[in-house]
Assembly symmetry: C2
């Protein structure tokens, strides 16, 4: 049971009301991989630059993460900088330097072509297609996207949507993608484009799962101390798809448990800057918070 | 088992992207009472003007609502007008005419002085105090408030908080009241002022319950068709306190069920303008949605 995950590895510079960090290892795939590796083997496909060496790769070492698919290209690694508002609810991108990511052509090592779960991280829909074209067998395909692709490559995005099973985007992106504000209507519209399942994440308000069977609402764990929301949605995705990958069967109950693990991983991510909390996290802590979410939401049926 | 409920009855003029209504019967107490009356007897204490006659009182008739405590004063009834943004997430108050509400001096009929639940609707803290002073026996005291009182009467508000068991306010008000953004810290700070229990409502994101025992997260029911959010928080409160009033014992499980009934009542309220949906609502519909919320949030523990 393994995940093939493709996306961006980057150097992040982050400023929040609680502190700031410069050029730490980030990028959506990094969060996804660290999170998913608690549950399953993760095969990474990414590109980094010459400034990304053993010191940086350490974040992945000693985990269930294979780095064979990481391309070391000439040039500098993707860099992103962002600053959060006082309540962490909005952020401003300070800079985006694509660098080697601009020429990224995902190439799958032979061993990666049989995957249990394929996760297409947020990138140009044509790159997502090219990954799918290389995969020989898989059980589930999940994807992320963002407003940029919804706006500038709507047709390409629709083509990918027709080939995936599960889309994970935030609720405002779901609304933009469907062109309708009501989330249930937006979900139905996106499901109509191909993926039977939509996960709409809502930051500190939790996440909604829409399947052919119905809806599931996963709460967010209310944190007492928040440091940095960067990567929370990617950590959610890692928990969700990581749990799916190791599950013998994927039914409604499996998906619900996966949503809770997603919420757990997203909440831990926010507790410290960058990947720091995920790096020192244990499976016992993960399961304790899973149980806390159960306690926090349980009530008698009629 | 009964609720003594004090607050505002008004004529509301409401504009949303889905339509508009003029001078319909509203006011927070009206929503609260209609909602609570599905669960228990409600004794209303309010003031209306000469323009509020039998035609208007019809909204309360044929329900478990006693109107003995409604004062018919000289002058015009409280009037409020508001307009909602395209996504219903924010609203602008167009006008507020207090009229007879300005001179409101709540006076409790003798029969109202023994109550199971006392609910102090959103009004000047000194009026809330004067109601409590008249009550002879009660099991639980709940209250609502708003930013206006947090800003202009902080000391009076603190005095009331020291005398109540349960505060129901929205999450932004909880943050303002506590002077801290983090909701868990805000809840702890408010609980420290007296009330053991805080309900922080979050609109379409549900509501959080903070008690001495811990936290409970109630989901919002995702509506396919929304018309008008006016009164949703008051309907939540009516469902919550109405359910508590009829419960033989009030323990953690009771409070959780009450939160779900609150969420159910708030969700129905939004489906039509003003009180229209509540007026044609049935207990079967309420219980069906309660069950739907259970279905929507249930997952296996570890």
């Amino acid at each position: 049971m393994s995940i093939l995950a493709v996306g961006s590895v980057a150097f992040d510079t982050i400023k929040t009301p609680f502190g700031e960090v410069t050029d730490i290892v980030g990028g959506s795939l990094t969060y996804f991989a660290l999170s998913a590796s608690f549950f399953t083997d993760v095969n990474l496909v990414a590109v980094v630059g010459e400034d990304f060496g053993e010191e940086q790769l350490k974040v992945f070492r000693g985990r269930r993460i294979d780095l064979q698919g990481v391309d070391h290209a000439k040039g500098k690694t993707f860099r992103w900088g962002g600053e959060y508002s006082l309540n962490l609810n909005s952020r401003e991108t300070l800079f985006t330097e694509l660098n080697v990511f601009e020429g990224f052509q995902p190439e799958l090592p032979e061993a990666y072509k049989q995957a249990d779960v394929v996760f297409l991280g947020n990138m140009h829909p044509n790159l997502q297609q090219s990954v799918l074209d290389q995969v020989k067998s898989k059980r589930v395909v999940g994807m992320d996207s963002m407003n940029l692709w919804i706006e500038i490559t709507p047709n390409e995005l629709r083509s990918v949507l027709g080939r995936v099973d599960i889309v994970k985007i935030d609720d405002s992106e779901a609304r933009d993608l469907a062109g309708v504000y009501n989330l249930r209507k937006a979900a139905a519209s996106i499901q109509g484009l191909g993926p039977g399942t939509l996960i709409a994440t809502r930051g500190s308000h939790g996440a909604m799962l829409f399947t052919e069977k119905g809806m599931f609402s996963a709460p967010a764990y209310p944190l007492e101390d928040e440091a940095d929301p960067t990567g929370a949605g990617d950590s959610f995705a890692g928990g969700f798809f990581g749990y799916l990958a190791q599950a013998p069967t994927i039914d409604d109950a499996t998906m619900r448990r996966a949503m809770i693990y997603g919420s757990v991983m997203g909440s831990f991510c926010v507790e410290d800057f960058g990947t720091h909390r995920l790096e020192r996290l244990t499976m016992d802590e993960i399961n304790a918070r899973y149980h806390a979410l159960k306690e926090m939401t349980d009530f008698d049926d009629l």
